[in-house]
């Protein structure tokens, strides 16, 4: 894969949103989503991530899945910036319901209210749900 490849010239940039609504370790959804996000970064599209409902637990600080013998992927969210993925939207209501605040998350995010989250979803060309 060439780092010079410029897909923007080959076609219009599309807005892709990856919606994360599941807690991280009980099912494989969160890890799968993260892998798809990392792959999508290679295609120079307009990528954003949304975290709502139990998906906000994915970003909780201090997770360590090693004791479960599973991949400890929480630190990988901190690498997203290296992949030029910097639009991470977290829903305020979902955080509040779970007693979480933005300061307790592993990465800097944009906290948005439910209404704004709905509008962001509707603005996308493609919404991928996990």
């Amino acid at each position: 894969m060439s780092d010079e490849a410029n897909w923007e010239d080959a076609g219009a940039v599309k807005r892709f949103m990856f919606v994360n609504r599941k807690a991280p370790h009980g099912t494989i959804y969160a890890l799968e989503a993260l892998e798809v996000v990392l792959i999508s970064a290679a295609f120079d599209q307009d990528v954003s991530l949304a975290f709502l409902d139990d998906g906000v637990h994915q970003l909780r600080q201090g997770q360590d899945a090693k004791a479960l013998g599973m991949k400890n992927f929480a630190p990988t969210f901190r690498a997203l910036d290296d992949y030029d993925i910097d639009k991470l939207y977290v829903e305020a209501e979902s955080l509040a319901q779970r007693g979480l605040s933005a300061e307790e998350l592993i990465v800097p995010v944009q906290v948005v209210d439910r209404e704004r989250m709905s509008a962001l979803m509707a603005e996308q060309d493609v919404v991928m749900s996990f």
Binding site: S2, D3, L38, K71, N72, F73, A79, D82, Y83
Partner: protein, 110 residues
């Protein structure tokens, strides 16, 4: 598949990546390089060590463009480019160097 290092058998996948990164040692990298007919210089080790540090911090092997950018930041712009990295690792800087570093193949790399 497996490789033999100092009398220890280290299982690898079908592409030669070791399956348990805890079994890695510098000798693993040396042996893999030797099998590829390549000698590891200080410049190779800079990249291999960077990859191990990156994996330790983020739990992923970086994609090639991330590798290139980060090497440039840490080791200087003369090293943060495809030409330099491909000269060191002709089979592909991310793929080959990750294999030597005992990491999984980078996500999104085909």
């Amino acid at each position: 598949m497996a490789i033999q290092v100092n009398g220890t058998t280290i299982p690898t996948d079908e592409e030669g990546y070791i399956e348990d990164l805890n079994l890695w040692s510098p000798e693993v990298a040396e042996l893999m390089a030797q099998e590829d007919g390549q000698e590891l210089t200080e410049q190779h080790w800079e990249v291999i060590n960077f990859l191990r540090e990156y994996y330790d911090e983020y739990q992923i092997a970086p994609a090639v463009r991330v590798l290139t950018k980060q090497i440039g930041k840490r080791l200087g712009p003369e090293k943060g480019n495809s030409k330099y990295l491909y000269e060191l690792f002709p089979y592909g800087p991310a793929k080959q160097a990750c294999r030597y570093a005992g990491l999984p193949k980078p996500t999104g790399c085909v």
